[in-house]
């Protein structure tokens, strides 16, 4: 066990002296207690000092820090790492690199990502169908982006996503809805390939989440899910 790191560097061999005595301290500044008349003089001067500072801010209009948001939309500079929206990277042909490996789904702390596979009868291999992302429960922790082995997820700074309806915050990030890529590869003709690809909008209406649509609603009010895992006491092994 790694006990050393918890023990202090300046721990004592001499146990009688308190460990606190070795901490370099600095006493908190205290203004002296004044008598009646000095207090009046000091009080008046201290109040005047404060008023001087606020007056300086009043007359100096350059100190105003307010940003007027909708008006300054054009000049708004966002840091490039701002996390406000999850996107799936698509190339110019409308493809993406997602292999539907479900790692992002597993790493998401609050089940905001749901990966739905699809397969065509001609191809045995599974592909990404819906990539369901629930903005309403996402905490923008960036774990899915870090976990993605193919770097096909990205957080962007597009932060204006408010709606009047919570169900509109459920997105399908997969814009590619053409034939499965395996089938597509069999088509030799470029013309046929282009017509087989159809990019869809990132939002395609709420995606049904099998009853677990809105958090906080007791189960009896929701349609029952047949294969729901039942909660069981966890068998822990006492180390």
């Amino acid at each position: 066990m790694n006990q050393e790191s918890n023990m202090s560097a300046n721990s004592k061999t001499d146990q009688s002296a308190s460990a606190l005595a070795q901490v370099p301290i600095e006493n908190a500044k205290r203004w002296p207690d004044l008598n009646y008349f000095n207090k009046i003089i000091y009080g008046a001067s201290s109040l005047a000092k404060g008023m001087k500072i606020t007056f300086g801010y009043l007359i100096n209009t350059k100190t105003v820090v307010t940003q007027q948001y909708p008006e300054n939309r054009e000049t708004l500079i966002l840091a490039d790492r701002v996390r406000a929206n999850l996107i799936m990277k698509h190339n110019e042909n409308g493809y993406h690199d997602c292999t539907s490996c479900h790692i992002c789904e597993g790493v998401c702390p609050n089940a905001s990502i749901h990966v739905v596979d699809r397969s065509e009868p001609t191809v045995s291999k599974k592909e990404l169908g819906y990539f369901v992302w629930r903005l309403d429960s996402c905490t923008f922790c960036n774990l899915c982006v870090m976990a993605c082995p193919f770097s096909c997820l990205e957080m962007t700074g597009q932060f204006e996503s408010s709606t009047y309806d919570q169900s509109l915050l459920v997105y399908n990030l997969n814009q590619y809805s053409g034939a499965t890529q395996n089938n597509l590869a069999k088509l030799a003709d470029d013309q046929a390939r282009t017509s087989a690809i159809k990019a869809i909008s990132p939002y395609e209406g709420p995606v049904a989440l099998e009853g677990y649509h809105l958090a906080g609603i007791p189960k009896e009010f929701l349609p029952q899910k047949s294969d729901a895992k039942t909660s069981q006491a966890r068998e822990g092994v006492n180390p």
Partner: protein
Amino acid sequence: MVTLNDRISCHTPNQDGTTTQEYFINMGPQHPSTHGVLRLILKMDGETVNDIIPVLGYIHRGIEKKAEAVGYRQQVHLTDRLDYLCALMNNWAVSAAIEKALNLEVNDRIQTVRTIIAELQRIQSHQLWWGVFGMDLGAFTPFLYGFRDREKITEIFEKTMGARLTMNYFQPGGMMYDIHPDFVKDIKEFIKYFRPILKEYEDLFSGNIIVQERLKNVGIIDAQTALAYGATGPVLRASGMPLDLRKMQPYGAYSKVNFTVPVGTVGDSWDRYQVRIQEMYQSLLIIEQLIDNIPDGPHMTMKYAAKIKPPAGRYYTQMETARGIFGTFFVSDGNDRPYRMHFRTPNFNNLWSILKMAPGGRVADLVAILSSIDLVVPDMDR
């Protein structure tokens, strides 16, 4: 089972021989100066507070239960939501706990950057506290000055971490990203900007006769009582006990820097105020010593694995956040999820010392005391 009603009814004053009647009044859960949903039931006699019954749980989210359901990597983002003003320090505490469980040493670069960022966060947290303190004493202007200066640090954080409040930046094994190229430059600019501002804080607010009168000799508590009542951090240091884990059990890069620990002499609201002001100066000093020589190295020492499995055992790690000791206790059974996760949060433990500070004072004193303890309610209720 004993209920809150029983607790109150046994306090109901009897009518024999008393001329004034004590009464109960609810301060909170919606009250401007409890800063969230803390509820205090005050037993008052006129304006004098005679007894306090804190009622917690209005923002209890069951984070410890939740933590048992998610993996170790996901614990970090849960701690953002405890004490959101020290989110990064909480991130660090949990990451360090997991690193220790895995017996993982992180490199100097990570340690130094973590220390700088933690000290920036300490300043940021104290700036907000200063503003809110002004507002609680009735001066609204400091509130906005505090927020204005906090924004500078928030922007530095936003550049490096991509988030402003709940960063989830420190990960087990390192940091999510490397620091932004502007990081050092921005911090140097901030230090240059903030030193005169700190002086201005003192002119505008600390020296003010009304502030002096409101804070001095109000809510006095001695160090041993404060420690027994669980207080740590600035609240305890204001009573004169220099308990600071940065000095006593150095972690990160704290053993490499020189700084002093501000302690109070009386243990009143004024000392709690002044200790935090002086801590901001000390934090600036620490950052100045570290900012020029950040060592080179990778920002992540651990290969990314979705599942982290520490060896079975009990682990406890603690760190000094802006409000006191933040401890992470967890039991691992060798699985990828903790068997039991428990957070020792500073605010939950700091709260109870008001039971010794406030009785006998006025409502206005109670407000000043609450503000001088600097409570964050989500951290209390978890």
